[in-house]
């Protein structure tokens, strides 16, 4: 008890708000369902709040590129070549920079950087970190601020961040990406890193907000605070932005594709749903196929993409592979939609399609 005990009692009373029994029952049910799922994955519409961190790529093939097979490849090259087609394209097209900055006994080198209309990617190597990162897919976890040529912070245009990497005993390498509507503008970018360490980012435990606030600890190893600042010039981001109005109706559900961004590292598309003419804001589509000029556009084994809900209730998908020559007819086939309760986030219904959205890119 302090000298403010009378005020404390009033504040404590003011905060002692009880949820309704029905509200608490909904929360209990939702958590019970979450805990009952075999794979502990939160619903997409829950995870899509905030600036998300997502793994950029699967490193399953990395093992094949280690040892003798790797030859003279650097660690970053090996990671990049083990990553998705989009990352490989970005690596090949990136500006070679090789800028090193040293602080607090840690050297961070920005080896390459890349930007297209869908994402900005930094390829980094880190030397001098102590801790337990050696020998495995443990990314270097960095708290970083990215500023575009017009002075905008990534928080103003990016909806998510991605990361992947690998650590060896004396050297770690990391690929960081910022996903969103990149301004089509050449100029000087600024990347400022204030903390590096192992863990945290790769397992998705931290949102960017948590990292930025310094409130999400790395799972293993120590973090090192310092200042590593990079300025680098990039050409105008590649890619084609298409404003579209392609709709398809199946039963009571009409889906409209309003935007496509076709770039070398990824393709993103924005869709909206109406049921009987009324917009739906809590839903998610399943992309069944993407076709370009009548051909299945799936050079890799599976169509791999992430999805998120956008502010106006639309949904945006982003593939892990991009396109160099986007001209022609694109078809986005949505095979199923899931509609959730706005109030609870719980799945209410699934509706089978398909809906086929067709856009011609000159």
């Amino acid at each position: 008890m302090t000298m403010h005990h009378d005020v404390e009692a009033r504040v404590r009373h003011a905060f002692a708000l009880e949820p309704s029994a029905e509200g608490m029952r909904r929360l209990d049910d939702r958590m019970a369902r979450a805990m009952a799922r075999p794979a502990p994955t939160a619903p997409r519409w829950a995870l899509s709040r905030g600036l998300l961190l997502r793994p950029v790529a699967v490193l399953a093939a990395f093992v094949l590129l280690t040892g003798a097979v790797a030859g003279t490849l650097t660690l970053l090259e090996r990671i990049s070549q083990s990553s998705s087609a989009g990352i490989r394209a970005a690596w090949d097209r990136a500006e070679v920079l090789g800028i090193s900055r040293e602080d607090a006994g840690v050297t961070v080198t920005l080896e390459r950087a890349y930007a297209d209309l869908n994402q900005v990617i930094a390829f980094l190597e880190v030397e001098g970190l102590d801790g337990s990162g050696g020998g495995g897919p443990t990314a270097v976890d960095a708290i970083a601020q990215l500023r575009d040529p017009s002075g905008r912070l990534a928080e103003e245009w990016a909806w998510g961040m991605g990361g992947t990497g690998w650590a060896e005993p004396d050297l770690a390498a990391s690929i960081m990406s910022w996903d969103g509507e990149v301004a089509p503008e050449a100029g000087t970018w600024q990347l400022t890193i204030t903390t590096v360490g192992y863990g945290g980012m790769m397992d998705g435990a931290c949102t960017a907000g948590e990292l930025a606030d310094g409130n999400c600890a790395a799972a293993d190893g120590e973090r090192v605070d310092g200042l590593w600042r990079f300025e680098f010039a990039l050409p105008a981001p590649a890619g084609t932005l298409v404003r579209a109005d392609a709709s398809d109706t199946h039963g009571a559900a009409t889906i409209t594709l309003t935007e496509l961004r076709l770039a070398p590292s990824a393709v993103t598309g924005r869709t909206h749903l109406e049921l009987d003419g009324s917009p739906v804001t809590s839903w998610a589509p399943t992309i069944g196929a993407i076709r370009h000029n009548g051909e299945a556009w799936e050079p890799e084994a599976n169509l791999n993409y992430t999805g998120r809900t956008v502010d106006d209730g639309g949904n945006e998908f982003m593939t892990s592979i991009g396109v160099e020559a986007p001209a022609g007819t694109w078809e986005i086939e949505i095979s199923e939609i899931a509609i959730a309760s706005v109030a609870t986030g719980l799945l209410e219904t699934r509706v089978q399609g398909p809906w086929i959205l067709r856009v011609v890119v000159p």
Binding site: V7, V11, A14, R49, G50
Partner: protein, 197 residues
């Protein structure tokens, strides 16, 4: 379908099974409520132990019960998904959950309108509805005053009095030193005392 694009399609558990996961007290084993690490078998108990505290903190930050419940659900879903990342040294499970809750709330506000502090405005909207009940006028007055405090004082008070965290735990949540948190609480209480008369 590969990647994150596919939605979970597992069969929904029966209602009775769902209940058993969270409220069947006969099945609750002795549990260390401050475990070194979290696993699936103990998470339900951690949820039971801390759900009200997390809700009250989020309710103090949001405009409606529904929004607070939604954020509470997001908090526990994130915590469950990433329970493997929990370490007791991070300030204990209560502080860990509140840290996730705080960041979930920050992310939502940031996403609504970056660079504008909507925290106070959002909460004030909720207060207007609450004020309709005369019995809540005293509560509304206190909460309105709390909303006018500087952000750090405001949040420290919510964590202390809505969720019952210690200054040390609040320091872990806010990423500040314990002494600094104590000062924020003292200053906040002093300001409230002066305003309340």
């Amino acid at each position: 379908m590969g990647g994150d694009g596919s939605l979970a399609s597992t069969a929904e558990p029966e209602e009775d099974e769902l209940r058993a996961l969270v409220v069947d007290e006969d099945q609750i084993p002795a549990v260390d409520v401050e475990p070194e690490r979290l696993d699936a078998s103990t998470f339900g108990l951690v949820y039971e132990e801390h759900r009200l505290s997390v809700y009250r903190y989020l309710r103090a930050r949001t405009r409606s019960e529904d929004e607070a419940l939604e954020l509470a659900a997001v908090t526990f879903e994130r915590a469950f998904s990433h329970r493997g990342a929990f370490r007791r040294r991070d300030g204990g499970v209560h502080a860990w959950l509140l840290r996730i809750a705080r960041n979930a709330a920050i992310d939502v506000h940031r996403r609504r309108r970056p660079s504008v502090d909507l925290d106070g405005a959002d909460v004030a909207l909720g207060r207007m509805a609450m004020q309709a009940d005369r019995a809540d006028q005293e509560r509304t007055e206190v909460l309105d005053l709390v909303d006018r405090l500087p952000a750090d004082q405001r949040d420290a008070l919510r964590l202390r009095y809505a969720s019952g965290l210690t200054a040390r735990e609040i320091a872990a949540v806010m990423g500040k030193r314990e002494g600094a948190v104590q000062k924020q609480i003292e200053r906040g209480l002093a300001a409230l005392r002066e305003a309340l008369g």
